[in-house]
Symmetry: C2
Subunit: 169 residues, 2 copies
């Protein structure tokens, strides 16, 4: 489904999101909880911090915490740096035999499937994932981004220094 890096990243963020907001999780804690090699996870957490998903603080009582409201954080934002979601342009028969202007017989069916997949990652937020079992349809669209915005930087959260208000829960 996802490659290992994306999988680790997603699970790490969900873990961090479940903790109290202002208590950072150390990479050590996350790594041992998820049973992922320490240094390897460190690198993943690092890129998550660079893409503005997590905030990192060094030193004692340091660690990682969410950089934004989990209700505004689609899974795609977490996953994209590690795992390319399928592109709309080419379908199964790819190379020349199929493009949007001159689609092959299989194009529509294949694209319906990949679209479903892509939209799951784009529409599902961290908050949704933690909101219990799937019988409420909290999967409202939060943001539509066509391509990964790589240079997001630590986008300053809505209300001051890393303290957003949790909406639901």
């Amino acid at each position: 489904m996802l490659n290992q890096s994306a999988d680790h990243a997603l699970r790490a963020v969900l873990f961090v999101a479940r903790q109290a907001e202002d208590v950072p999780c150390s990479a050590d804690l996350i790594a041992s909880t998820l049973d992922v090699p320490r240094n390897y996870l460190g690198k993943l957490l690092n890129t998550l911090a660079q893409t503005g998903v997590l905030l990192s603080t060094r030193g004692p009582r340091g660690g990682f915490r969410l950089a934004m409201d989990p209700a505004s954080l689609p899974l795609a934002r977490i996953v994209e740096p590690f795992h390319r979601l399928p592109e709309r342009r080419t379908c199964l028969l790819g190379n020349g035999a199929c493009d949007p202007d001159n689609p092959c017989e299989s194009h529509d069916r294949w694209q319906a499937m990949t679209d479903h997949l892509t939209q799951f990652f784009e529409r599902t937020t961290v908050a949704t994932m933690l909101s219990g079992h799937g019988d409420d349809d909290g999967t409202t669209v939060i943001m539509h981004r066509t391509r990964p915005a790589r240079d997001v930087g630590a986008t300053s959260p809505t209300s001051g220094q890393g303290s957003y208000r949790r909406t639901g829960t």
Copy 2:
């Protein structure tokens, strides 16, 4: 979406399925058409033959043809030897934190997504993929298999020696 091997395999089978039934396609032809390295594709075609998806004949005018009615051939059957479809048992939070008896908060949502994906491959047949654009719902369930049956061997087709009757078209 799929790894390259599964992708090549799928496209190769679709290509073969589009040809006349009794004229085998040589690996050379398929490879050049799909723009895939000859020997690499050969190995893929070989395992497709071993899993009973294709029939291979050697010698002049030899090559590969479908081993069964395309309407009875779900994409999963083609893809499984090369690409593991997601398993139902473990979800996102995997390792111990989540199992079917004691699911995590994210379990249902994640599983709904993976189920959708898995069912696409299990319910969509080669015939469906070639039946034109996706507005008819020809995706009726053909077979339900929970785990890959690796030792299928060349399951003798329904009506004698490799000559099935094509249903639609």
